[in-house]
């Protein structure tokens, strides 16, 4: 039995590395391959190769860092990761390999640091895919289920906020119209896999959510789920797009018409839905999954007899753009005259061309989580309050998961409503 029996042994002195024993040709080959790995991107850059933007990258790439103390090293790391030569080629190659060979979306979980003390360097959190792959190539957004199971704000609190906004606007002589586009998974769950993360808790939570909305005692609430589902049942065509979180253009026309009908049923006069043939769309869910894909859909437009649309855009900053619509009618169809502010998310954004011929004086303001991403929440909040104060009608559209599950940027939160109350108190009754 030796002194060191239970523990590893080894030489007490490590001599410098011995001279290589393999042939020079092998050394040359290995050295060339190694040099290609480390210096190849720079050689390519010297020959003119540049790293182009990669489709689906949902952030701006890092700019060249300036020296500003301790944080500079973090900035250099980010810059290096974003800007090294041939980055785009590598991303495309990786995507192609995983999709072509394995038929799977690439995983972008990257290394999180060194293996300190033997603890693995990969991230310890469970990786929950943001996109759930369903049958027949259908994709679903995990937030549909996450926010149903773990909402930031309880549903009762949200609904109390809606009632408060309705009361505040009514008391000031204004009118609230609220609409909630259902999640894709609510209307078209038929392509979901048999089991998925949060299935058990989200199904009853969503049912409870829609029961509560059906019983909502706010006169301006517009139920769009029922006509969308009726249309799907009638045509047999899914109301949503396979690769996208959003619904089809036909569903979009139904949504716009439902809102217009609530504002003034007479707006249906002189209105027609016109098919425009097939068009391509870039699936947002496929992009989130790291594998941007394009699908086709049937395009539709809403035509209103004798109406001329005038639309202008106003950017508060690069990521937060307001749209002003001033349509005019010259016989035939009428336009909705009262000044209207339309607060909505991407469902509204994608339906803006369809909304436009209905309104004589409309300003579309993106919902505030967009302002958070754009980094101008205070400015955007002030502007939203200003637009509400200047309007007779306030239309709010928020997709189900955001309406009932999100806290940041919600117009039904106490902080926003307190400011709205103060703002309306200052504005004359209209």
């Amino acid at each position: 039995m030796t002194e060191t029996e239970p523990l590893a042994t080894g030489p007490d002195v490590l001599a410098p590395p011995p001279p290589p024993r393999e042939g020079k040709a092998v050394r040359l080959l290995v050295a060339a391959l190694g040099a290609g790995l480390l210096f190849g991107p720079w050689a390519a850059a010297a020959l003119g190769a540049r790293s182009d933007a990669v489709p689906g990258e949902n952030r701006a790439l890092a700019e060249r860092p300036d020296w500003h103390g301790f944080k500079t090293f973090e900035d250099i790391t980010t810059y290096a990761a974003d800007r090294f030569p041939l980055r785009d080629l590598a991303i495309r190659a990786n995507k192609r390999f995983t999709t072509d060979v394995f038929g799977e979306n690439p995983s972008y979980a990257s290394d999180a640091g060194a293996a300190v003390g033997g603890v693995p360097s990969t991230k310890p959190q469970a990786e929950v895919a943001q996109v759930i792959s369903g049958r027949d190539g259908w994709l679903y957004f995990f937030d549909d289920f996450r926010r149903a199971c773990r909402p930031d704000v309880p549903l009762d609190t949200v609904l109390a906020g809606v009632r408060r906004m309705d009361a505040l606007l009514a008391a000031s002589g204004r009118r609230l119209v609220l609409t909630v586009p259902p999640d894709k998974s609510t209307v078209d769950p038929q392509f979901l896999p048999a089991d998925y993360v949060d299935r058990a808790c989200s199904v009853p939570a969503k049912a409870e959510r829609w029961r509560a909305l059906a019983g909502l005692d706010v006169p301006g609430y517009v139920d769009v789920r029922t006509p969308i589902e009726a249309q799907e049942k009638k045509t047999g065509v899914p109301a949503y797009l396979p690769l996208d979180t959003h619904w089809t253009q036909l569903s979009s026309t139904i949504f716009v018409q439902a809102v217009a009908n609530r504002l003034d049923p007479a707006l249906a006069t002189g209105t027609s839905v016109v098919p425009l043939g097939t068009t391509k769309y870039g699936g947002d869910l496929s992009a989130i999954a790291g594998n941007p894909q394009t699908g086709t859909e049937q395009a539709f437009a809403i035509r209103r007899k004798g109406v001329t649309v005038a639309k202008t855009e106003e950017a508060l900053n690069a990521g937060y753009v307001l749209t002003h619509v001033r349509s005019t009618a010259s016989g035939g169809a009428a336009v909705f005259g009262p000044r209207t502010v339309l607060i909505g998310d991407s469902f509204t954004q994608r339906a803006l061309d369809k909304f436009a011929p209905y309104f004589g004086d409309l300003v579309r303001v993106p919902e505030l989580s967009k302002a958070i991403l754009a980094g101008n929440l205070p400015q955007a909040t002030d502007r939203m309050l200003e637009e509400i104060a200047g309007s007779k009608v306030v239309v709010v559209e928020l997709v189900e998961r955001t309406f009932a599950g999100a806290k940041d940027g919600s117009p039904f939160g106490a902080a926003f409503l307190d400011r709205l109350e103060a703002s309306l108190a200052r504005a004359p009754k209209r």
Partner: protein, 476 residues
């Protein structure tokens, strides 16, 4: 800065190599010292000053311990050693263990109804466990007259902070490498050609295997996942492969990098999952740590020279320290003591003395199983979590994979998992790193070319693709 990151692969390493090749050989240690501090700054610039301060204290202590005046005063010499060791361990204790200790005090005070006590939360300098052990190795070696004190601060910084080993080892004892620090005449082309394949092996192990099976383990160990027996085993096996390929991959990269700069580092792994006993496992797993504990703790405690009771005590002390060295959590302590107990049982039953070529298959299987069970403690976030996973493993319950797990168990990961499992079954003497470093056969040469020309470039593509960020959703 991770070795498997764009900033390292395409900025730091190429620039450092170019500088190394351009400068005269005698400037090697200066260059390595400077770039190593820059490397460390990427983990937190303020920590560089802390590291330099600790280096300065140990450098001065080494000179004093080795000085003529101390030679005539052994008591003072020993006192200085104790003070320096106390300083190093104190730094480690404050940074790494103060938070854990104050949390325990807080819990006890809470249970006793003694009110709330503060819990410290201190940012941990990267690699503190490694550079502390390097410092301790240095002052003890100098004290033992095993090596003279380092007169050159540049060489000393190169030893302590050399970037290949700074954050993830291997732990290089001072007496192992002291001669190499002074030897700077190198065949730079030959060193690059020899070190690069080893680096590539490590990169491929880390990026292509460890990172691929990690999500499976993460999903199984995540909160709230309904575990059944097959799922628990799947997750624990995934972690078993993840930690081996991750840690040994880092060691391979470190050894390869050191070689590129003309250094030979000690081996850190030798097919640990082919061990035929837990004793054998510890001769193959994280060998540089094991050697360090042997030299600076186990033998000074008396090793196995004393009574049977003293030997077991020493064994438990070593594995208590091994567990806590890995992290300030009861789970690491449990893992260390679990292994200490296994070693004690092997010693007590005589299993440790069974010749290695007897009953190889069942012994390998049993040892692998014991290692797998140990990893549950190592990976779990808490003892409660460890209990939950162990219960699922050993109290039979069946059913399909929970969706959290089936979502991440893609075909690609399943294939990688299967390939990783092969490492358990191939012959014990097939050690890839050794073959790459020393082999001259056609197989060895082919593997060098394959790792450098195929596996590492693919790993680099994966690293590069990891910078793509499709997740911040702007459309909503």
């Amino acid at each position: 800065m991770s070795f498997a990151s764009p900033v390292f692969l395409w900025y730091f390493l190429p620039l450092t190599l170019l500088a190394y090749w351009a400068l005269p050989s005698r400037a090697r240690n200066t260059l390595l010292s400077v770039v190593s501090l820059v490397f460390y700054a990427f983990g937190g610039l303020s920590f560089v000053f802390a590291l330099l301060a600790v280096i300065a204290v140990n450098f001065a202590a080494g000179l004093a311990i080795d000085g003529d005046r101390m030679a005539a005063a052994p008591g003072r010499r020993k006192a200085l050693l104790v003070a320096t060791v106390g300083f190093d361990l104190g730094i480690l204790a404050i940074w790494k263990y103060a938070g854990f200790a104050t949390e325990q005090v807080h819990r006890i005070a809470d249970v006793l109804g003694a009110g709330s006590t503060p819990v410290l939360s201190i940012a941990l300098p990267i690699g503190i466990s490694f550079f502390t052990f390097h410092h301790l190795s240095y002052v003890v070696d100098v004290y033992r007259h095993s090596r003279r004190a380092q007169r050159s601060p540049v060489q000393f910084i190169a030893y302590i902070a050399m970037f290949p080993q700074l954050v993830a080892g291997p732990i290089v004892r001072y007496h192992e490498i002291a001669e190499q620090l002074g030897e700077t005449r190198r065949d730079r082309f030959g060193d690059f050609a020899a070190g690069m394949p080893r680096f590539c092996l490590g990169l491929a192990k880390k990026v292509l295997i460890a990172d691929s099976v990690a999500p499976i383990a993460d999903a199984v160990f995540a909160d709230g996942v309904a575990l059944n027996t097959p799922t628990a085993w799947l997750g624990v096996l995934a972690y078993t492969f993840q930690i081996y390929f991750d840690f040994s991959g880092y060691s391979d990269m470190a050894i390869g990098l050191a070689r590129m700069f003309g250094f030979r580092f000690p081996e850190n792994f030798a097919r640990p999952y082919s061990a035929v006993s837990v004793t054998d496992f510890w001769r193959r797993w994280h060998m540089s740590l094991s050697r360090w504990f042997r030299d600076y703790l186990y033998i000074p405690l008396g090793g196995n020279r004393g009574s049977t009771v003293a030997t077991y005590r020493n064994l438990y002390i070593v594995f208590f320290a091994t567990g806590f060295w890995h992290g300030a959590n009861w789970t690491f302590l449990a893992w260390g003591l679990y292994h200490g107990t296994m070693l004690a049982i092997e010693r007590a039953t005589g299993l440790a003395k069974v010749p290695e070529d007897r009953f190889v298959v069942p012994r390998r299987a049993l040892t692998f199983l014991l290692a797998v069970v140990g990893w549950v403690f190592f990976r779990a976030a808490s003892m409660e979590d460890a209990g939950r996973v162990l219960k699922a493993m050993f109290v039979p319950s069946f059913g399909g994979l929970p969706p959290e797990v089936s979502t991440v168990l893609t075909d690609y990961r399943t294939l990688v998992f299967a390939l990783a499992a092969l490492v358990v079954f191939i012959p014990r003497d097939f050690v890839m790193g050794k073959l790459l470093d020393d082999g001259v056969s056609k197989i060895a040469v082919s593997l060098r070319v394959a790792y450098t020309g195929i596996a590492a470039p693919y790993a680099a593509v994966v690293v590069a693709a990891g910078t793509f960020s499709p997740f911040l959703y702007f459309k909503f």
